[in-house]
């Protein structure tokens, strides 16, 4: 956990009952969060099946239109490839590790600030 950011492990239970319970927990947790980014961590899943892809899309749909950003930790290169193939990586930022994901909002904020500064200086220059 990082200030205001939550990490939710992606459910990779081997049984469908266990998966259903974890899926419910994950979606409920996503409903609660507001305002701060939420990290969904796939590190525990060595590979993704069609149910995993469905659930990830459901998670993205859950936060869509709200002020919550979903960040995905692929965990493995194989998962990263599958996230690109399914175009999920174009819907949510994908990272290799939780550490990278937790750093992302800070970096993004810094980039935004730098962009704003650059825009301001350009505006001043042109004036």
């Amino acid at each position: 956990m990082n200030a205001g950011r939550s990490v939710l492990p992606f459910p990779c239970a081997p049984t469908s009952a266990g998966r259903r319970a974890l899926r419910k927990d994950l979606l409920s947790a996503l409903r609660v969060f507001s305002g701060s980014p939420v990290v969904v961590d796939l590190s525990g899943c060595p590979t993704l099946n069609h149910e995993d892809i469905d659930l990830l899309l459901e998670c993205i749909a859950q936060v869509a239109g709200r002020d919550t950003q979903l960040l995905v930790v692929a965990g493995t290169r194989g998962n990263r490839v599958l996230l690109e193939v399914t175009r999920i990586s174009s819907l949510a930022p994908v990272f290799n590790s939780v550490k990278e994901a937790l750093a992302y909002p800070q970096n993004a904020a810094e980039i935004d600030t730098e962009d704003q500064r650059a825009n301001q200086s350009q505006a001043v220059g042109s004036a």
Binding site: T47, R77, L82, R87
Partner: protein, 338 residues
């Protein structure tokens, strides 16, 4: 001097039929390089056929197709048998590269240097093409196996400066696709050029809304459904199905592959359910996620080559030349008329 030729196809691949074998899937799908079949078509072309054509131009009337270990070692007993049957000079081609080599020039070099063995190299090393004289064939009887390692034996190598690519490597294979599509090498896509740098094979079916970005190739009998984008630098080989809305860029899709709707295949090599990312070398199984699969063939294809009836050489069905006992795929050698 009677000259013979042997083309070594890596074991586990069917000698008799074109484009039948698939790549060996790695046990784990993470960071493991798969071994692609060298019999897989490249823009509809068969690399074996291109080597056979070069051998034919050399004036050799028939060649032997043999299967051997992937490292290219040739079992000495088989070579010795060829020598005993009257072959005095033997051209051995290991099917691991596509090279636009003038074999007559290799032969001239071999004769001038009077080496028992001449191995062709390019800047990256061995190309898997070598010439052996009777002396070498006799000499290897002393050893267990024949290996064309010129560094070990300190033989002067034939330096090939023309176009060559290793076809086992997915990234080099993709480079070959790009070069063939843009005319940077002699290989040409097998199909009709419907627009500049856009080729379509016989019986391919393309929906009206398909977007083709050249250079690209769509193989025979492949179906491309609505909203698909193909290209640039793409080869979708024969008998594939690319489902609605999928985009394929800078990639190769090998025969009998089904790609699910809405995918983005970028810098990849897809063989049935397996996708290798060319940037990272990562191989993933797409089937559990329902993203890709192997299309079952309706019926087995007929063999592409006809065996030559007995004319001095042992026939495969009468006197089968078997592979080393360690070989898992024991197939007889096949003689093919050129």
């Amino acid at each position: 001097m009677e000259m013979g030729a042997v083309v070594m196809v890596p074991e586990g691949q069917d000698l008799t039929t074109v484009h039948e074998a698939h790549f060996d899937a790695p046990a784990a799908f993470e960071n493991t390089q798969p071994h692609y079949s060298s019999r897989m078509p490249i823009l509809g072309n068969d690399v074996l056929q291109s080597w056979m054509e070069r051998v034919r131009k050399l004036g050799v009337k028939s060649l032997w197709l043999a299967s051997g270990p992937r490292d290219g070692t040739v079992v000495r007993s088989e070579l010795a048998r060829l020598a005993r049957s009257g072959v005095e000079r033997l051209l051995v081609i290991k099917l691991k590269s596509y090279a636009e080599m003038d074999l007559a020039d290799l032969l001239r070099f071999h004769c001038q240097k009077r080496n028992p063995v001449t191995e062709a190299h390019d800047a990256r090393g061995q190309l898997g093409v070598s010439l052996l004289d009777r002396l070498a064939l006799r000499a290897i009887e002393e050893k267990q196996e024949f290996s064309c390692d010129s560094t070990e034996q300190k033989r002067p190598a034939y330096k090939f400066n023309g176009y060559a690519k290793r076809i086992f490597s997915a990234s080099e294979r993709q480079e070959l696709v790009g070069d063939a599509l843009t005319g940077a090498c002699a290989m040409r896509p097998l199909g009709t050029e419907i627009r500049e740098h856009l080729w379509v094979g016989k019986g391919a079916s393309l929906a009206d809304s398909v977007r083709l970005v050249g250079p690209a190739y769509i193989g025979a009998r492949t179906t491309v459904r609505s909203g698909v984008t193909i290209g640039p630098f793409v080869s979708v080989e024969h008998d594939c199905v690319v489902d609605c809305g999928t985009t394929v860029e800078r990639s190769t899709v090998l025969p009998y592959t089904y790609l699910a709707p809405g995918l983005l295949i970028r810098q990849g090599l897809v063989d049935g359910e397996y996708l290798e990312n060319l940037e990272w070398g990562t191989v993933v199984d797409m089937q559990p996620a329902g993203l890709g699969s192997r299309i079952q063939r309706s019926e087995a294809r007929k063999p592409a080559f006809k065996e030559v009836p007995g004319d001095g050489f042992p026939r495969a069905d009468v006197f089968p030349l078997q592979f080393a006992p360690s070989s898992s795929a024991a197939q007889p050698w096949l003689q093919v008329r050129l």
